[in-house]
Homo-oligomer: 371 residues x 4
């Protein structure tokens, strides 16, 4: 009886002043694992002081908005296209960013990028003391100086373009001149780099390598964010991050793809999901039917494939667990056929890699009720 | 040195099967208050069995998707435009919805709508036992029968069109033939109805009165949802909801507008926000400057006006606390002028009403640091 | 000098009545081709009169909102789970929808679904005259009656579950008891069905098979819409749609995937994009560099792979042409090496199929400027 | 019969490389008026060369993305907080931006900002020839030099904070040292400035005054964009823009609020909307009922209030015309009561101002059909 499509008596007001100034921070919800704090970090960032396009304090504001805990400022030592306009040494951009970091409570780490053509490619050193001393025409000397300063050194975007593992890397590896590799840089994933890290106990990294304003490179709507290195650190301090990097306690997260050692990603997954208590059955013919409801409390969207070969239970083969939501699939079973009351459903998590091209597999227990 | 605008080597795949089927539930995050559970309820809903446009089980699926705890199915007794096609009694739509409610763990409450022109207008009875007995050409008899069945009765959308408070309502009120009023129906808010509820100790209600699929009436993106009655119940059961309604323990939430008794909405606000520990100062000339960071853990967006008349502190006059985010404003003060180290900042919360046109006022304590 | 992060003097008003009632229609922008009008159609739709969940007029409102031109109402003849409540013949839901169609200027086509287990599977007949005469325990008789009524008959979702091409389909095909196949149903694409259509001159179809409210099955944000059959019709009338279906003038569009005969999809692509006039070069070392800007005036997002093997020109290998937007990629060339001033860039359009697993290939001409 | 909630056989693929790099331009659709081209311009922009936070070429990329035609780079002459790091004259940022402008086909205009406390406030000069000559401790000399260079001069954000119209402005106005005023700056609208422009034939301006990356200040989703000056120019050239500014042919657009002389905004509105041909009536009791459908082809959302006092026709009092969409409202009339077949419906467009606090009023003709 009420009119359905009437749109009456709306109050329209001139509301200028409504622009969504980004004075807000969206936390990225990922569980702590192994007794460590899970810190969201980006260790590869440029500003106008090398070939980036924003002032260093913008990097801190962006990190704060996006829910990050720590960033490293890593200007190229050798490539400074703005040097006719900007007169500053190799530490200056860090100094500016670090001051903004205090304001926003973001950890800012001093770093720099040693930039060569392949086979050397690009190499980042972070936790440096004085970048000016690292600048050197001899790149090996640069890395040695960085190492001397106590830096954590990692190899950036190993690829056709910038060079893959070669005799040069063999040498650097033997000399302990790098301890990690970016398996994700910006929006590219390097499957072979993941293998090298596993084989040689190098730390996996995922970084943005952002040059433009972050919104230009990433669509930050919803639960999206830049490529991240998740660091499992004893506490939220610069020293604890460094200790975790050296110890190899990282995972990589980008675009809802999680990569890392099974021990860490398994705990992230397990702590993120919760199987809700079984609801009432709704029978259909002779088979029992029910909903399997799973709550995902993390900010990661999980894509799950059920691999049940159990013929007594019929279950949808896939489900998507949206972030911060409850999702369900239907399942059916014939109570008379079922011997056991509990059944394990093997799962393959499509968006978690525990090694190169190796998807994470686990299982959940379903408790079946026969009325 | 990295190319900025290159878009290389993307992997494009034919991904059919990507449509966002709504198999997910987004919880509406609102704190529990007064030792009660805060349940999200909609007590005014139609289906094809009166003049609605969907099958009753759709109402349950919609409620589940949207994060509701309980709904009432309230078909018109007198207005049934589909009756040439649908042959069913006045309880049938509830029965269908209730079965779906078991599947999805949504509380479904039997109800009905007594539909008259003004001055009587439309009146809902919920927690009824048999709607067929309530159908009656004499509307007073209808309400008496509903009362006899133990129903909670409330007056719908009191307005110019459907009737405002008149002698009829005086009579019904004296006879205790209604106990609540919709101060929000669909997208309309009735300020005078809020006053009547306060004056006469009637329970405030906010309901959708949805006829079409819920997505037609509401943009359910982000943290949006339908008009809701928040019920502060002892537990999540039908009986506890009824007890809370009778006791007047409700608030109304629509479009990030919260209305209710100060005792409840104050606790919702207080539990929703958290003032983060003070970060380092960043000085500017002779005045100290710092960021006030506030975390909003609820799903409600709060619009705040600071009303500080303290001349020693300079603070932005407004801020918006987005749901599930940290927001900040800058403030400045001159440490030498400041006597006290603590200062109260009076706030007016623009989107919380504690009475008709009466905004909720509160204050926060700022601890000022002089270095 | 202006404060950056101030958020001052916002005007907050209680604006109830803001809910986004769907009283708007978003046109799906696709060019007309071959001198025909491109009509957006969905020929497979259910309502509460069979196993759907909404009243028939909702299907018209949904179609209007979504930018469709025509829909067919195709209830199951044999599967009517609501028949205890809904007493109506097999034409009733069409009659209700058709009346709403007049209101919204949407073409509503009478149809029905003959529903059998495999190998027969589900078959739709549209442009029927009286569905009651088609209901028959003998499914062949049903189809013969539909044919007698002048219906266009097509096979729904051919798949493992509902049956693939078998002796049954050989028989039906020889008897001319179906003229088309759904190569897309809901969110599933059947590559082999596309092959059968090509081999046997059957009309390709793409339909929603929607049962729930359309928003439940599809995320209709942005440029998204349900699975569609594009019909290239002489005019926007029911008769012209039927003529085009019989003549096989269709394409299928879902989730920005376009499938169809090369003659049609090529013209859609060609008319949708416009290469903007070449802008000024910006030199870099000895190579000329410029932007290739392409405007996409359609509502379809095109994913393009450039396949240039020309060594004189260096161009990004992929680009995405967002709907209703201009996109660009950079290219570089050495003017001294270039003999010709025009160069053809071969393209593969990743989201257009002209046959089963066969991507559409075309090329664009680049005019190179040597200063 | 089809399962409703099954989510089967989805294909999940590791798709890295999906980040939405902003290589696309969304045109802002606004009709040309008065035989002129409607250009979208922002004449108040900062970069790292004064107190902004991005490199000048970013401003061009942002403008291209957002659908702008022209921008002016207007660094503060006096306020250069980065000058310890950046050594450059007052023309340098323009030079960098201008080069990027050639690449993206965006008109970049040289400008500068003379920055004083109130009562003078901040004043922009654009179309300058050499900003170094304008820098002067005597602000009047600055403006005289700018005028000598042929600049168009306008007063920025006149407000309590930066100064309102005073004797200083009387003087500058008499000396013809400014020709326009920002009635919108960033997200603030100055109603009194609109009055001053109308009274004194000054050109109205609306600009972003952006310092941070544009995404930080504006939510650029959907049809949103920064505050703009619409310039009605003879052609898309820098000279034509200057001619139009001097002639006062501008309007201001922000957040779907349009301000300007009635002659221009009326034509924008009239050309933006199209009343669709009347559809069939659908009777209800003794009154005819029909839908009024209006297509809005612009990118501006119009909020309309119908003000009909005609008692013979009943029409919804408000409607929102979403951008690039068809919207409708219902209307009813009694054919026997109606004398005329045509009826004018007076409209108030809530989001168009033709003067300070003066909403634009117009009317549409409805052709009523009596069957």
């Amino acid at each position: 009886m009420k009119k359905i499509v009437i749109l009456a008596s709306l109050l329209f007001v001139i509301v200028l002043g409504l622009n969504a100034q980004k004075q807000q921070r969206n936390e990225i919800s990922i569980p702590d694992v192994g007794g460590y704090k899970t810190l969201k970090c980006d260790f590869h960032i440029h500003t106008v002081f090398s070939d980036g396009k924003v002032w260093p304090d913008v990097r801190v504001m962006e990190a704060w908005n996006e829910g990050l805990d720590a960033i490293a400022i890593t200007e190229h030592l050798e490539y400074r296209p703005h040097e006719n306009d900007i007169k500053a040494d190799h530490n200056r951009s860090y100094d500016i960013a670090a001051k903004a970091g205090e304001k926003f409570d973001i950890i800012v780490i001093r770093g720099t990028e040693v930039t060569r053509k392949k086979p050397m490619g690009h190499i980042n050193a972070i936790f440096t003391k004085d970048n000016n001393l690292i600048a050197n025409v001899d790149s090996i000397e640069s890395l040695k100086e960085a190492k001397k300063q106590g830096a954590f050194i990692f190899w950036n975007h190993p690829s056709e373009k910038y060079g893959k593992w070669s005799a040069t890397q063999d040498f650097l590896y033997k000399e302990k001149l790098f301890q990690g590799i970016e398996i994700v840089n910006s929006s590219r994933y390097y499957d072979d780099a993941f293998a090298w890290c596993n084989d040689k106990s190098l730390t996996i990294m995922g970084n943005s390598d952002v040059h433009l304003p972050i919104d230009h490179d990433y669509d930050l709507l919803g639960n999206n964010h830049r490529s991240l290195t998740l660091v499992f650190a004893k506490e939220k301090t610069e020293a604890a991050i460094q200790e975790a990097l050296v110890a190899g306690r990282t995972a990589v997260l980008f675009n809802h793809q999680l990569m890392g050692k099974e021990i860490y990603v398994k705990e992230i997954f397990t702590k993120s999901i919760e199987i809700l208590p079984q609801h009432k059955l709704f029978k259909k013919s002779i088979r029992n039917k029910s909903l399997l409801m799973i709550k995902n409390t993390s900010g990661i969207e999980f894509s799950i494939k059920t691999k049940s070969t159990n013929t007594e239970i019929k279950i949808s083969t896939s489900m998507v667990l949206k972030p911060n939501a409850v999702s369900y699939i239907e399942f059916e079973y014939n109570p008379s056929e079922m011997g056991a009351k509990e059944i394990a459903i093997p799962l393959e998590i499509e968006n978690i890699l525990v090694g190169p091209s190796k998807k994470f597999e686990t299982s959940i227990q379903l408790r079946l009720i026969t009325e």
